[in-house]
């Protein structure tokens, strides 16, 4: 058995010998492409592995590296997740986050679809400048806005209410979505709309019956992007929400679960894992839309 294998490899070597270029480029490919790629993937994914493995470790293993290999679990436990779901307001936080993300996404999709349609299709005087203005809004980072926005939110009587987040998140979602949808509307032939106009359709009918159905991929891209961005938002949610029950997942984990000097790493990591799962699942379903919208937005 080993002989035949050795023979086979010898034959392969002999065959490869005259063609050293091919063998050389194979090794070269391994060293120059697969090895660095492997390192990248390992480093980029390790924190998630660590997060996942910590959430299922019993505390005894978590704090004892001498007797237990830290990279593996010998007796996995659901205690941390059970603690999270039944002893804290975690389900409530998840629910709030979901509500805020869906609300903000719906609001920004409606606003940006109408705006993109007006800018790209109704073509009024100055429409490129309106488009540029909306795009510039994307360059204003939330870190500059959160203090004055907090006073605005208090003025409107929305402080500590998830409604404040639903209304504020569109400030960074609308510019992005409008930009993305303008690109999609551009790709829809203008002739289709002209035909409909000739047949006597009104502008709103054209938007509803012709343009929107054709722009569905763009709407999905904009929608999942908005959902992810609102799910991940932190600084506004931290500044505008005070009471424990109304917090979103990222804020609540950081402010409600981090208590005292001894951190409950198991529960913290379980919370992070559960909080990441919805977007990760969402992402796995729509990977292509994410990649295309990310790259499409950059290319535009």
């Amino acid at each position: 058995m080993t002989d035949t294998a050795a023979q086979a490899s010898a034959v392969a070597d002999a065959k490869a010998a005259p063609d050293t270029m091919a063998w050389d480029s194979g090794l070269r490919r391994l060293m120059m492409i697969y090895l660095p790629l492997g390192c990248f993937v390992l480093i980029l994914l390790f924190p998630f592995y660590w997060m996942a493995i910590t959430s299922f470790k019993p505390n005894a293993e978590l704090m004892n590296y001498r007797e237990h290999n830290p990279f593996w679990i010998t007796s996995p436990t659901l205690a941390h997740i059970k603690h999270l779901l039944f002893d804290t307001a975690y389900p409530r936080w998840l629910w709030t986050t979901m509500l805020v993300a869906i609300g903000a996404t719906t609001l920004s999709l409606i606003a940006s679809t109408l705006a993109a349609y007006a800018i790209e299709r109704l073509r009024f005087r100055g429409s490129p400048y309106v488009g540029l203005g909306i795009y510039m809004a994307y360059l204003v980072p939330p870190s500059i806005l959160f203090i004055p926005l907090a006073t605005v939110v208090v003025q409107f009587g929305l402080f500590d209410s998830p409604l404040a987040l639903i209304l504020v998140y569109p400030t960074f979602l609308v510019p992005f979505c409008t930009w993305l949808l303008i690109g999609y509307f551009k790709s829809i032939p203008y002739e289709l709309e002209e035909c409909a106009l000739v047949d006597g359709a009104t502008r709103l009918q054209i938007l509803r019956r012709i343009t929107l159905p054709l722009a569905v991929p763009g709407l999905i891209s904009a929608g999942i992007f908005s959902f992810t961005l609102s799910w991940n938002e932190f600084i506004y949610a931290l500044a505008f929400i005070q009471s424990g029950a109304n917090k979103t997942v990222p804020v609540a984990i950081l402010t409600e679960l981090v208590t005292g000097d001894v951190y409950q790493w198991g529960a913290l990591m379980a919370g992070s894992l559960l909080g990441s799962l919805p977007v990760a699942i969402f992402y796995s379903l729509f990977v292509d839309y994410y990649v295309s919208s990310l790259t499409g937005a950059v290319k535009e």
Binding site: I33, Y34, P36, L37, F40, I43, L44, P47, F48, W50, M51, T54, L62, Y65, P70, I110, L114, A115, Y117, A118, L122, V130, I134, A137, L139, P142, S143, L145, P148, L149, A150, T151, V152, P170, V174, T178, A201, R203, Q205, W231, N232, F234, I235, L238, A239, V249, P250, L254, M269, S272, G275, S276, A280, V287, Y290, V291, L294, T295, V298, K299
Partner: protein, 318 residues
């Protein structure tokens, strides 16, 4: 159901009432379509931006309307060593993190531009750090940087025996600063890599074929084809990256909250500490406003510095 959908357009066409005609009147329709977006952005973006600049010139605190005090907030900041610290660290943080993100991200993009099996799966996996909420991955980093149970220390001390004591990642200023920068680079690589990969795929292979026929080496092909062709997209991605790294808040707030000894405050976390947690809205707003000149400068620098070829030539191609 089907009856109504069939009959309504017919009705609309036969007797267009004033409402339908109004909605077909173009200026009105444009105004209606733009109203939600402009309204939202006006009330929650433009107005707060102006209000923030106004607040920076007042002594407003939470619960008390402030009075105009001119440049006093800014004069105070100039004498405040914490503000100078935050400016210093914000600049260092942005410079090193941006450099790291782009060097590694460009490398990863070049690697991903090769042909190999499971390419789309790999591309999907690589975007994960960017998809997952930053605060939650920051918590994972906090745990990785734990003084006692850090997995990196375990690897270096107990497995590889390169060190004899655990690394104190977050306990002293410089290690804490670099730990945060490393976490930021980790989070930024996927976005840079995937955006640049999109740019790489638009470069025509015929350029490389022509260069190879002329005997260009791999390095020359990179230096004289890939790099110049990528300049416009690099400029855009870098502008975004610099803006959002300089104003970063989540990573620092989640991992160190500005500690140890206020050494890792970025301007955004300092603004939060003074403005929201400390209640000095005027001073917090002044710190936030003090970011604007840096942002404008960084944007102009990265955009015009990198995209120079493009705007010198005008809109010739692209």
């Amino acid at each position: 159901m089907s009856v109504t959908t069939l009959s309504s357009p017919v009705l609309v066409q036969r007797q267009p009432n004033w409402l339908v005609r109004l909605f077909d009147y173009k200026p009105f329709l444009v105004a209606m379509c733009l109203a939600p977006a402009i309204g939202l952005l006006g009330v929650f973006l433009t107005y707060p931006l102006g209000l923030g600049i106004w607040l920076a010139f007042t002594d407003t605190t939470i619960g008390r309307k402030g009075e105009f005090i001119g440049l006093e907030n800014f004069q105070y900041l100039l004498t405040d060593s914490l503000w100078w610290n935050a400016v210093f660290y914000s600049v260092v943080y942005t410079a090193i993190a941006t450099f790291g993100k782009f060097a590694l991200g460009f490398w990863l993009a070049l690697l991903l531009n090769n042909h190999f099996p499971f390419k789309s799966l790999l591309r999907a996996i690589i975007l994960l750090p960017w998809i997952v909420p930053t605060v939650l991955s920051a918590l994972a980093f906090w745990w990785i940087y734990d003084p006692q149970f850090s997995i990196i220390s375990y690897l270096l001390v107990d497995v590889l025996h390169w060190r004899t004591s655990n690394i104190d990642f977050l306990g002293s200023p410089w290690p804490a600063r670099f730990s945060l920068i490393a976490a930021n680079i980790w989070r930024g690589i996927p976005f840079v890599a995937i955006s640049l990969l999109a740019g790489l795929q638009t470069i025509s292979p015929s350029l490389y074929e022509a260069a190879m026929l002329d005997g260009a080496s791999a390095w020359q092909r990179f230096r004289y084809i890939t790099f110049p062709m990528m300049m416009p997209i690099l400029a855009i991605v870098m502008t975004f990256s610099i803006i959002f790294t300089f104003t970063d808040f989540q990573l620092v707030y989640a991992i160190t909250r500005g500690g140890p000894g206020n050494s890792t405050h970025l301007l955004a976390t300092l603004a939060f500490q003074r403005g929201i947690a400390g209640g000095e809205l005027g001073e917090g707003a002044a710190i936030a406003v003090s970011m604007i000149p840096f942002l404008v400068f960084a944007t102009l620098f990265s955009y015009f510095g990198l995209a120079r070829r493009k705007w010198q030539q005008g809109e010739a191609n692209d």
